[in-house]
């Protein structure tokens, strides 16, 4: 016996009509809310004498930014330039933190499954402590408490041409102008060569052939080629010019300066997120069937080789999706820079530019649009790569 469809109880079509009416009401309510907010905002802005629109981006900024990856000067640059400087600073610190957090996270995650009790306990303590402390507090510790312990700028600690003090780290800066551009070109060539080698090794494994070593030659290519170019240039009489910092009376001068704000944010972000990545890695490794590791050991593979060739590749399927959301968290959390004064997007744009121009709606909308684009873009990329990887699941 078939039960009558539920909607036929009170006449055909009632349910769908009700659904339509309900949806129309929801849409109407949302539109009314948006309209009310818009009307109120434009009335108040008009009263404050602020012209809506994005014209302010072309006005001169008139404030300085302590770290810039593109040419920027307070007198000549516009608010749009300030926005770009902030955006690039956000991307720079996020990109480096993603790399560093991944390395620390994998190391700690693998250590949590170590046969050594001390390593296991130490890794667990790391995860439980850093995960359970607010990132903001950790940034304060790095920026205030750790910095106080460093030497003063007048008497910096020096190693091999680099100086470390409370005012940050100053490194020798090679200048890749003129013939010296060969060095970065050699680096890129090394990267391309290494990836070709890895791809070929993968294809050989799939056809059952001997793949040969990959990691050693890759390192040799990526590090060796630029080194060769550097030495070759020096021998050919065109040495790469290096700006060496010197200890001045008020602190190190010249060279490539790393702001203490940048260093604190980078260290804080990566050690904090590494605790979450370690848990993801641990769960991923635990998801691989025990027999896989045992079979690898039975074949005579060392523990390191078992991890690298058998366990981790299989665990990656479980690890990658939550890992990308951690990468996104790093990008979003980099906005805590505003607390310690690193000139990221939020600090420069939502802080200084908003205060100077009072274009609250536009500035907030642009800033949020940037983060939303990053988030949704990465999510779309993730979904695409998940779809591509899906047929491989067995």
């Amino acid at each position: 016996m078939r039960a009558a469809p539920p909607e036929s109880g009170s006449g055909p079509g009632t349910r769908s009509t009700r659904a339509l009416v309900l949806q129309a009401l929801v849409a109407l309510a949302l539109a009314a809310l948006a309209y009310a907010a818009f009307a109120n905002a434009s009335e108040k802005l008009a009263r404050q004498g602020i012209t809506a629109g994005f014209g302010f981006l072309a006005r001169a900024a008139g404030f300085d930014i302590s770290q810039r990856l593109i040419p920027y000067a307070a007198a000549t640059s516009t608010y749009l330039d300030a926005f770009l400087v902030g955006l690039l600073n956000t991307l720079l610190v996020s990109g480096l933190a993603i790399g560093l957090a991944t390395v620390i996270g994998f190391a700690v995650g693998i250590a949590r499954l170590s046969p050594n009790w001390l390593a296991r306990t130490l890794a667990a303590t790391y995860v439980e402590t850093l995960r359970n402390l607010p990132l903001l507090l950790q940034l304060l510790v790095w920026y205030v408490a750790v910095r106080v312990a460093l030497p003063e700028a007048q008497h910096p600690a020096a190693w091999g041409g680099a100086y470390l003090s409370q005012r940050g780290l100053v490194l020798p800066r090679p200048d890749f102008q003129g013939a010296a551009w060969l060095v970065p070109v050699a680096f890129v060539a090394g990267l391309v060569g290494a990836s070709i080698r890895a791809r070929r090794a993968k294809r050989r494994i799939e056809t059952g052939a001997e793949p040969g070593p990959v990691v050693g030659p890759a390192l040799a290519l990526v590090l060796g080629l630029p080194a060769l170019a550097w030495i070759g240039l020096a021998l050919a009489g065109h040495p790469v010019p290096v700006a060496w910092p010197s200890p001045g009376p008020f602190g190190p001068e010249g060279g490539l300066g790393v702001l203490p704000e940048f260093a604190a944010l980078l260290l804080g972000l990566s050690t904090y997120t590494a605790a979450f990545i370690a848990e993801i890695v641990r769960a991923g490794l635990a998801s691989v069937a025990r027999g896989q590791g045992e079979a690898a050991a039975a074949l005579g593979l060392s523990r390191a080789k078992t991890l690298r060739l058998v366990t981790i590749p299989q665990a990656m399927r479980v690890i990658v999706p939550p890992l990308t959301s951690q990468y996104l968290n790093i990008t979003k959390n980099s906005s805590l820079a505003v607390l310690i004064g690193y000139p990221d997007l939020v600090h420069v744009f939502m802080g200084t530019v908003l205060n100077q121009t009072n274009q609250a709606v536009e500035v907030v909308a642009i800033t949020m649009a940037v983060y939303l684009t990053l988030s949704l873009g990465l999510a779309a990329l993730m979904n695409a790569s998940n779809r591509r990887a899906a047929p491989m699941t067995r």
């Binding site: 949806q23 129309a24 802005l45 507090l137 304060l140 205030v144 988030s375």
Partner: protein
């Protein structure tokens, strides 16, 4: 491939598995050359690291005193570690902010209410948990509001929120986030699974928007845009602005947790409920939601830990939460000594670690209990 052996390994000797501490040591710390080296390296590192930390926190610490002078090494006559006297002198400010001293019984009573509600919710076999939910989500917040900001009718003098501060504000912000985000999150999760496209897309848009932006931008937005959106000369209390931002932000994350629970419930549950003659709303309320929420308790607690840590961000938009009063106390010239910052952060770390770790343990306990229940059913 070179990794495949071509000759048989010689038979290994039988495992020397001595029971007791020696066997444990051999298995866990010295099971091979690499393992032994790891153990020794870690032990050496700990030997270098732990004694200074212990000296800083305990033996070299200054416990008593009424100004920063006692925490200066030249006055104390020995290297000075943590300056716990500073925490002792500032403790009332750190807990209550500038809340008038004569009225501190009100925050104290509020802490009591919070403890009662928390215990009622967390103790799974507590009596009348339904009543507890009403208390936590309705009666408690109203009572706390009347108590803290004052009800002249009952003879409680009004106290401006600008005077609230410290742990009190941190607790208020977290609790408002929790109490608002849980029901809102459930509604959003249900909306996201609705058959009605307009409702569904509205919920998806809402959730993905808040999840896609950093909390700081939300707080900035609440600070500058909330007053703009409201009609006329209606102003919003400075403390309420970030509360609105946090509530919306947290509800989006909560919605995703609840959605996970809804997805975990087999479809047959809903169909069986409909077959029994329940309406769709009844089926959701009586059959699906109770099971879904039970599954996601660990996820909810983990979201709450994140929320609790994230409340520190309100200090950036000028709210005197625990971190901000700590920074203010640290800047007091009467208490300027080299180790004051480290002392302040050590104290804050202890505070957050205690609460977050306790919540995390609770989530793990619930998870184990749920897993045991699943095994029992199978």
């Amino acid at each position: 491939m070179t990794i495949v052996r071509e000759t048989l390994l010689p038979p290994a000797p039988p495992p020397r598995r001595a029971a007791g501490p020696v066997g444990w040591l051999r298995d866990n710390l010295f099971s091979g050359a690499g393992n032994t080296v790891t153990t020794l390296v870690i032990l050496a590192g700990l030997a270098l690291l732990l004694p200074p930390v212990f000296r800083f926190l305990v033996t070299d610490a200054v416990w008593r005193g009424d100004s920063g002078e006692v925490c200066r090494p030249e006055v104390a006559g020995h290297p000075v570690g943590a300056c716990w006297a500073f925490i002792g002198a500032k403790i009332n400010y750190l807990v209550y902010g500038s809340y008038p001293a004569a009225e501190r019984w009100r925050p104290n009573l509020f802490f009591g209410l919070v403890a009662l509600g928390t215990a009622w919710m967390l103790w799974l076999d507590a009596p009348r948990r339904g009543l507890g939910a009403v208390f936590v989500f309705l009666v408690g917040p109203l009572l706390s509001y009347g108590l803290l900001s004052g009800t002249p009718v009952l003879g409680l003098a009004p106290i401006a929120t600008s005077l609230w501060g410290g742990i009190l504000v941190t607790l208020v912000v977290s609790l408002v986030g929790i109490v608002a985000s849980l029901p809102l999150g459930i509604l959003l999760a249900l909306g996201r699974r609705s058959d009605l496209p307009v409702l569904r897309y509205a919920c998806i848009g809402f959730i993905e928007f808040w999840r896609g932006v950093p909390l700081i931008t939300v707080l900035f937005m609440a600070n500058v845009m909330l007053p703009l959106f409201l009609p006329g000369d209606l102003t919003v209390d400075r403390l309420v602005r970030p509360l609105v931002g946090i509530a919306l932000f947290a509800s989006a994350y909560m919605a995703e947790v609840v959605r996970g629970g809804l997805q975990a419930i087999p479809e047959g549950q809903g169909r069986a409920a409909l077959a029994l003659g329940l309406t769709r709303w009844q089926a959701m309320r009586l059959v699906i939601l109770p099971q879904a929420l039970k599954v996601v308790v660990p996820g909810i607690v983990n979201t709450l830990i994140g929320l609790f840590k994230d409340t520190t961000l309100v200090s950036i938009v000028g709210i005197a939460d625990f971190i901000r009063v700590l920074e203010a106390a640290r800047a007091d010239p009467r208490w300027s000594a080299p180790t004051i910052p480290a002392t302040a952060y050590a104290f804050a770390a202890l505070f957050y670690l205690t609460f977050c770790f306790a919540m995390a343990r609770y989530a793990a306990f619930i998870e184990r209990r749920l897993a045991a229940g699943e095994r029992g059913r199978a």
